[in-house]
Amino acid sequence: MKRVDLKESEYIVKPATIIKAKPMTALEKFFEIELDSGASLDHEPGQFVMVSIPGAGDAPISVSSSPTKRSSFDLVVRNAGKLTGVMHRLNAGDKIDIRGPFGRGFPIRILEGNDLLFVAGGLGIVPLRSLINFVIDNRRDFGRVNILLGCKTPSDMLFGDEVEQWGQRLDVNFNCTVDKSDPDWKGNVGLITSLIPGVNLDAEKTFGVVVGPPVMYKFVIKELLNKDIPARQILVSLERHMKCGVGKCGHCQIGNYYCCQDGPVFTYEEIKDNIEAL
């Protein structure tokens, strides 16, 4: 067996540096990352990267920042495996490698000019934040914006300061809920689906953008359909196990779709008959 260097490969990595790192909750840690080449990541909101650490492997992580932020990008990493465990030990100044961005993000050009209803459950806020901040940074290009946020308890809330700012904006309708309250919590208590009926929207020009844990989708989508939002205007981002990111390894397959290439963003129209999707 001969071995030669390959200058062209889907597995080439881009060296990068962590410029900021801070724990968010007991399980999640925030990272701000700069590519060493100085280039922008140039991602679409909703895309993901493969984070690679030689010796620990690589794993798919959603990009959490808006592409309007050019010089660096944000990742939120939950400590759930080998690579993410190693990630959690890293701090500002440490090096990692990046492949990607991969996948199909949110269709910004199609969303422009329309009303948006964001529904984020739990960690769903991580990929959705890239689109929400993009929309806020280009606020005039979009119609009415509603943000609904749900998490287990108030202490699980990610990006608390930023979320508070969204809530204070006059050009954004914001509402959030927790499954289980604590003594300091003054907001809603209950499932995120309970917030949807109260939203005032024009179904014909509203896009529902839903990201959350697998169990959430069916219930939220049902509420959105009840609001007469058409299936093609409901967008979801699906989580699957990914190894290659380039539509080959088979791990992320959802029926005939490769989540890493054809997704992770899908319209409900595309997946409603796919028995493996939801």
Binding site: G55, A56, G81, K82, G85, V86
Partner: protein
């Protein structure tokens, strides 16, 4: 950075896994560059004096004294690696659990039975927390080294949760069942690179079973190959009996 102090201990076992480590050959020199072996009964007479970072434990827990001793080891060690079937799943010592304890005690020690303290065989993790497992009877050397590297780097090591058949097929061995021979490959967890079958032997299930072994489907297979259930049960019992406690005295 100083090298981590590593101590090897043994409980009820044949010490064959220690021999596997001592027989690493060239890799042993590389291993010794990474660790400081402070206790290893089979190869050295020095003792650790209870100063070690990593304890590597062979053998199963079969006496009350063993329980005290393994608890002490656990309290001292930052990391505990159980290696070899006796330590990880009870192994052949588990066969004792096929019989009522008093009966087997009498059978072995006869009139002196009362002088011996014995309990149902337990794997190490059934008594104390185990951080890493190296399954096998004996251990498969490359896997031991993988586990050691993971432990030294503080990374998890995941024992494959698929069957030995997966590795056996990749090694392109002729299937034992096609030769008319019963093999435990289909229910035994992989990680040994189908070592035994590569060398013409069957899989004895020494690594323990996969988490979801599809019992009903297995019955169908036995039926199809006309293999009596007892045969396969006996084969499984050889290594996998410590999961159950000894039956009550009748």
């Amino acid at each position: 950075m100083s090298k981590p102090r590593v101590a090897f201990f043994d409980f009820a076992c044949c010490e064959g896994c220690q021999l596997q480590v001592a027989n690493f050959g060239e890799a042993l020199l590389d291993v010794l560059k990474l660790i400081d072996v402070v206790e290893f009964r089979e190869v050295m007479s020095e003792k650790s004096n209870e100063k070690y970072d990593i304890a590597i434990v062979e053998g199963s827990i079969t006496t009350n004294h063993d329980i005290e001793r393994i608890k002490k080891i656990r309290n001292t060690a930052k990391v505990l690696i159980a290696y070899g079937s006796c330590a990880t799943i009870g192994g052949v010592n588990g066969m004792k659990n096929n019989f009522p304890l008093e009966k087997i005690k009498k059978y072995v020690y006869n009139k002196d039975a009362n002088y011996f303290d014995t309990i149902a065989t337990k794997a190490v993790h059934q008594v104390v927390k185990v951080d890493y497992f190296v399954h096998g009877c004996p251990i498969y050397q490359p896997e031991f080294i993988e586990v050691l590297k993971s432990a030294l780097r503080g990374l998890p090591y995941k024992v494959p949760d698929y069957s030995v058949c997966v590795e056996c097929k990749l090694n392109e061995n002729e299937c034992m069942y096609d030769k008319g021979i019963t093999c435990l490959g289909p229910i035994t967890r992989a990680g040994c690179n189908s070592w035994c079958i590569n060398n013409g032997n069957i899989c004895y299930g020494c690594r323990g079973m996969v988490t979801n072994p599809a019992k009903n489907a297995q019955m169908d297979v036995l039926d199809k190959y006309k293999i009596p259930l007892d045969w396969i049960k006996n084969k499984i019992n050889m290594y996998n009996k410590a999961g159950e406690q000894a039956p009550e005295e009748k």
